[in-house]
C-alpha cells in the first residue's frame, strides 16, 4: 500500500505515501508546506544551527514524485518558503534543481502565511486556484464550499496499536475538504488529538490517510490516541 484513493466533490484523487496528492485526470501533483530554506532562516535569526541540507532533501523527494508521475502541473499550496528572505537566499544549486523540475510543466505557487508576497522563482502565482470542482488554497476556510484542498496545519495522527503508539503525518478528508500533510523535511506537525482548531475543521466521520509505509486509511477521530 503506497497510496490511497479518495473522492472529493466528484474528483478522484490519490493520496501518496510521500505526502503528495495526485489528480490523475488533470495530471496535477499538489504538495503543501515545503518550507524551503527553514534551516537558513533559523540560522539567520540566531537560533539553532540546522544544516542547510533539508532544502535539498525536500526537493529530492519532490523530484522523485515528479519522476514517478510525470505531472503536467505542479501546484504548491503555500508556505513553500520559510519566509520571503529564504526565497531570495535559496542556493543556486537548489534554484537550478527547481528550474529543471519545472521544465515542460506548469508550476503554480499559491501564497501562504510564510510567503505571502511574490518571489522571484519561475511559475505562476495565486492566492487561490479553482480547477473544475476543486478549490485550492493555503489554509482551510471553515465555511468553504465543498471541494476545498489546503495545507497549512501539518496534520499528524497518533494511533494506538497493540505494540504501542505510532505517530505519522497524515491527510485528513471529509465530504467537503481535504487537508494535506507538510511535504517539507523537518517541518514538525500538529497532532489531531491535541489540536481543537484542526479538529473543528473536519467532520466527525472524517478519514485520516497515514503517510509512509504502509499508507493506510483510518477513521480520523476513532483512531486518534
Amino acid at each position: 500500500m503506497i497510496e490511497q484513493t479518495v473522492t472529493l466533490a466528484g474528483a478522484r484523487l490519490t493520496a501518496r505515501g510521500s505526502g503528495a496528492l495526485w489528480w490523475a485526470e488533470r495530471r496535477l501533483i499538489c504538495v503543501a508546506d515545503l518550507h524551503l530554506g527553514k534551516s537558513e532562516r533559523i540560522a539567520r535569526r540566531g537560533g539553532a544551527l540546522l544544516p542547510p541540507y533539508e532544502t535539498r532533501e525536500t526537493i529530492a523527494r519532490l523530484a522523485a514524485e515528479i519522476a514517478a508521475l510525470d505531472p503536467a502541473t505542479v501546484l504548491c499550496l503555500g508556505d513553500s518558503f520559510d519566509d520571503m528572505a529564504s526565497a531570495d537566499a535559496l542556493p543556486e544549486a537548489d534554484r537550478a534543481a527547481l528550474a529543471a523540475l519545472a521544465r515542460g510543466r506548469d508550476w503554480i505557487w499559491l501564497a501562504g502565511n510564510h510567503d505571502p508576497a511574490p518571489h522571484g522563482l519561475d511559475g505562476g502565482r495565486a492566492e487561490t486556484l479553482a480547477l473544475g470542482p476543486l478549490t485550492f488554497r493555503h489554509a482551510a476556510l471553515p465555511e468553504a464550499e465543498p471541494g476545498e484542498i489546503s495545507g497549512h496545519y501539518h496534520p499528524k495522527l497518533r494511533v494506538a496499536l497493540r505494540t504501542g503508539t505510532l505517530s505519522r503525518p497524515c491527510f485528513l478528508c471529509d465530504r467537503r475538504r481535504l487537508i494535506l500533510p507538510a511535504f517539507g523535511a523537518y517541518t514538525g506537525g500538529l497532532d489531531l488529538g491535541s489540536s481543537p482548531a484542526l479538529a473543528a475543521l473536519i467532520e466527525p466521520d472524517a478519514r485520516a490517510i497515514l503517510t509512509g509505509a504502509p499508507c493506510v486509511t483510518l477513521p480520523a477521530f476513532r483512531a486518534s490516541a
Binding site: 544544516p51 497515514l210 493506510v216 477513521p219
Partner: protein
Amino acid sequence: MPDIPETALPEPFAGWFARRGWSPHAHQRALLARAADPATLLIAPTGGGKTLAGFLPSLIELGSAPAPGLHTLYVSPLKALAADIRRNLEVPIAEMGLAIRVEDRSGDTGAAARARQRVDPPHILLTTPESLALLLSYPEAPRLFGGLARVVLDEIHALAESKRGDQLALCLARLRRLAPRLRRVGLSATVEDPPALARFLGPETRLLVADPGPDPDISILESETPPPWATQGARYAAPRVMELIRAARTTLVFINTRAQAELFFQALWAENAEALPIGLHHGSLGREARARVEAAMARGELRAIVATGSLDLGIDWGDVDLVIQVGAPKNVKRLVQRIGRANHRYNAPSRAVLVPANRFELLECHAALEAVRARDLDGAPRPPGPLDVLCQHMLLTACAGPFEAGALLAEIRTAGPYAALSRADFDACLDFCATGGYALRAYDRWRRLMERDGLWQLRDPRRAKAIRMNVGTIADTETLSVRMKGQFATLGEIEESFAASLSPGDTFLFGGQTVRFESLREMVVEVTKHPSKDPKIAAYMGTKLATSTRLSHRVMDLIADPARWDGLPPHTRDWLATQAEVSRLPEPGRLLAERFRRGGRWHLCLYGFAGRNAHQTLGLLVTRRMETAGLDPLGFVANDYALLIWGLDEVTDPAALLSPEGLREGLEGWLGENAVMKRTFRAAATIAGLIERNLPGRRKSGRQATFSTDILYDTLRRHDPEHLLLRVTRAEAAHGLVDFDRIEEMLARVSGRIDAVRAPHVTPFAAPLLLETGRVPIRGQAEARMLAEAAEALMAEAGLAR
C-alpha cells in the same frame, strides 16, 4: 611498605600532631619524604588520611611566612569536596599560626571573587577540573601559574575513568609547560591497575601504595523466602534492612538508581515505626536538599542515608559503621570503594551487607563477595584520550592566546591519555576547530580558529566568551527543575523525557514524597503535594550501569559449577536445578539460546552475560536481522545476563542471527540511526563545541537541542561520514551505552558454540526477563501488519469500509 623513610615532622607540625594525640600514617610520612619528586601517585584505601597526606608538604613548605603567589593547586571532582577541604585546612592553619591563605573556586564562586583570584591568587587554591580548564583559558594564566609548586589531584581514580579525567590530564600538561618545576601528586582509592593510573598522571610518576588494611567483613542478606523474580527495588528486604539500621550506629545504604532509591526510601519509612532519622541523597535532588542531608550527617544527626552514586565520592564520615548495598553490586571495584566508607578509621575492618533484589542478583552478590575476598578487582582499560575533549582543549587554549601547532602537539603528548596521539588526529581536530569540518564549512559560526604567521588564534576574539561558557565534559541530560506550586525554591530536577510523559494529575515520587504534576512552564515543572501513598509512576530513569565483564564471568562460572552451589540458599539451588532440567545451564565458552512459545508468541532468550547495555544493542541488531529474514519480531528486553526477543515466528536457527560479520555490519549501517548513537553524538558535539550548551542570555530547551543535533547527525552521516565527530561517536560506541566491545567479547568467548534449546514452556531463567521493565517494541513489518489490521478493523467498525 618496606622502605619507609623516617622523616620527622618539623615544628610546629610535630607539636600540633602530638597535641592531638595523632601520629602520621606511614604513607603520610612517605609522601613527605618524596615531596621533592616530580610526580607521585598515592594509592590508599578510603579513610587513610590521603588528603592530609597530600597537603602536608605544601603546608610545611609555605610555613609561617609564605611568599605571595599561588603555591599549591588542589583539584577534586566535587565542588562540595573543595569547600569542605578548605574548612578542614583552616583549622590546622589557624591553630599553628600559619599565614597561609586558602580559597576555593568553582562555578558557584561569585564573579568578583573569581576575577580577584586571577589577579591576587591565594597560596592554596581548591578547585574542580572544569574551573581549572577555565582558569587556563585566560590570558593571565602564564602569570598566575608560573610559580606554581605543587598540584594535588584528589579522587583521581574516579576522574580517570571519564572524559573529565582526559580534560584534567590535558590541563595538567599545560600546567607543566607554564610551571616547569611543578610537582604532581595524585590521590587514589584502591584500583585494579595502579601503573595505568600512574601513566595517566604523566611521565616520571612513582607509585606509593599504602597498606590496604584488614579485609572487610561482608555478608549477604539471606532470607528464608526467595527474593522476587525480577523487581529491582528490593522492597521485600526493607524490614530486614531496617533491623540492620536499628542495630548499627550510622548506616549508608547504597542503591543503584535514583528511582530505586526513592522507592526503597519510601519502603524503609513504612517500616520505620520509631521514626529514626533517615535521609535521602541522590543526584536529582536540589543542591540545597543534598547539602542539608550532608550537613546533618556530618553533625552525626542521621542514623542512615539512602544514597546513589552521588555519595560515592566525598566527605569522610568517621562514624559510619555499616554499609548496605541494595541491588546488584555490578562492579567489584566500586563495591570495594563503597564498603571502604564504613569504619572510616584506618586499620578497622569495614562492615558491609549485600542485599540482592532478585534471583540473578543473588548469584551476582555471591560472585562479587568471592571477588572481594580474592582481591580481584575489575575495570576495563581506558581507551586513548577522546578527540572531542581535545577539540575543546584547543579552543580554550586559543582563548588564552595564540599557539603554535607543533608545540601544542608536543605538550598534549605529555598528557597520559594522549601520549600516543597521532599528528593526523591532531590535525583533524585543528581543522574541525578552524572550519567545522567539510560538510559545515559554509557556516561562519563554526570557523573559530585561523592561522596567522604560523600561530593559531581565534578568528573572532569575541567568541572567547561563548567558548568558555561551553567548558566541561559532563554530558547534560536535558533536565527540568521541579518546583512546588507557588514557591520559589527548587526541589530538584527530572529528565525532560520523563517530564514529557506526564499529564496533569499524574503523581510521582520525588525527594521521598509523592507529588502531583500540575504544569510545565518555561523549563519548570510545577507540582503540588499529594497525600497518595501509591504514586502512579515510579519516578524517572537515570543511568543504568552494566555489570562488569569480570563479574559477569564470575556469575557464569558459579552457575556452571554445581560444586560451588553449597554456599547458595536452598531456593536458589532449586531454581538452578530446575533450569538444568527444563532447559540447560549456560556454560562458560558457550552461548545458550532458548526458545519457547508463550501467549501466542515465540520467544528467543540469549544468555550472553555481556551486561545490560551490550544486550540492549544486541537486541537492536538481532531483531533487525530477524526483520530482514521475515521473522517478524515484535520486541525485546534485556538485563545484565540475557536478552529476550519475542515475535510472530519461531527462530529455528539462532546461530544464523549471530554471525559476527553480520552484527558488525549492522553496527556500521542502520544502528547509526539509533537514538543511542544520536545521544552519543550529541554528547561529543557538545564537548567539541559544535553545539553550545549554554547560549549567553538564554537557554535552549533540551528538545530544541535534540532536534538540531539529530539533524546535524543525519546530515553528517549522509554528506560527510568521515567527519571527526562521527569518528568520535563510533569510537564511543565501543563502550558506554552501545558497548559493542562487550558484544565482541561475547562472540569471541563463544566463537560459534551455540546451544540451541527448544523448551516446552517458559524456563526458570527466562521468567525474570518476562517481568523486566524497559521493553523495546520493534517498529517493523510486524507493526505494519498490525497497522493494516487495525486500519481495516477501525474502518469496518466506523462503517466507513468500502
